[in-house]
Amino acid sequence: MPQVAARPQYPTDHPSAPVRFAIGERVRVRKACPLGHIRTPYYVRGHAGIVERLCGNFPVPEELAQMRAGLPAQPLYRVRFLQRELWPEYAGRDDDAVEVEIFQHWLEPERA
């Protein structure tokens, strides 16, 4: 098998905020509307879902957009939302889902 040159470690090894949530834990997306470059879509804000996986630690996009370093980095999760919980009129199966990457500073425990 061909070898490739060593690459930076993945997930990234930035100084990072400690991981708060475990896989399988129910979390809620903050219902907030700050100005600026936000990678948290509106349609999941205020909604609860389950942590599907931890993607690693990444610099904060709101800060990067302002030409700052975005450090300490924030853990990035993939959160699984049920379609039924996002869209009450959803016509498909009860377990149809949307999975979205959300940064930790946008998440709180479901019952905060």
């Binding site: 990035l76 199966r93 889902a97």
Partner: protein
């Protein structure tokens, strides 16, 4: 004055759109300030244009014939692609696997994030607000418009590439491909199959 000019026929000429003008202005400014060179911009464009879905199809075909590679691909897509000898700079890849129970689809609702290193440039519909806004709330209807009816017994999972990860759908290997060689398998894995709006079919089968 020619007839064409008299009648305001400008042939192929079109004034730059707002965004084209913005792109030209930004690029010229970056070059002027010495942040990038024209040659670097041209080389990057050439690199992106040279990439196409054939690369992703090779990855899928390998996963179909090599269970160990498939397991590594699902565990860490980037590492598996690098070990496969692919150059996937900056690609943080999550591979999602279609099964008899689950069908996966990829979208970027915020812009047009796409696994370009494996699939090349995204199709225009992938960037349209129609696809982006509808596939996260009525995925089954959108898939039907692509000619794909997902059975009621199958769960639909939509993956919204909102931040740093990029996604690739690993479709199911179709029946009727037993004994096929890897290159032959790769030939039926289309771009749309790896986005999740189609499924591969053995040639000649329905």
């Amino acid at each position: 004055m020619s007839d064409a000019a008299k009648h305001g026929d400008l042939g192929e000429y079109r004034p730059l759109s707002y965004f084209q003008l913005m792109e030209v202005s930004l690029r010229e400014l970056l070059v002027e300030k010495g942040i990038v060179t024209d040659a670097e911009v041209a080389a990057t464009l050439e690199d992106m244009r040279a990439r196409g879905p054939e690369t992703g199809a090779r990855v899928v075909a390998r996963a179909w014939v090599d269970p160990e590679f498939r397991a590594r691909l699902l565990e860490n897509g980037t590492r598996a692609c690098e070990a496969f000898g692919l150059d996937v700079p900056a690609l943080r890849l999550v591979v999602v696997e279609n099964t008899p129970q689950v069908h996966n689809i990829i979208v970027c609702t915020l812009c047009s994030c796409y696994p370009r290193m494996l699939l090349g440039l995204p199709p225009d519909w992938y960037k349209s607000s129609n696809y982006r806004s509808r596939v996260v709330r009525e995925p089954r209807a959108v898939l039907e418009e692509f000619g794909l009816r997902v059975a009621d017994g199958v769960q639909v999972r939509v993956h919204d590439s909102t931040a740093d990860m990029r996604y690739l759908v690993l479709p199911m290997r179709p029946v009727g491909t037993e004994g096929w060689r890897e290159a032959q398998l790769a030939s039926i894995v289309t771009r749309d199959c790896m986005i999740g709006v189609a499924v591969p079919k053995a040639m000649g089968s329905e």
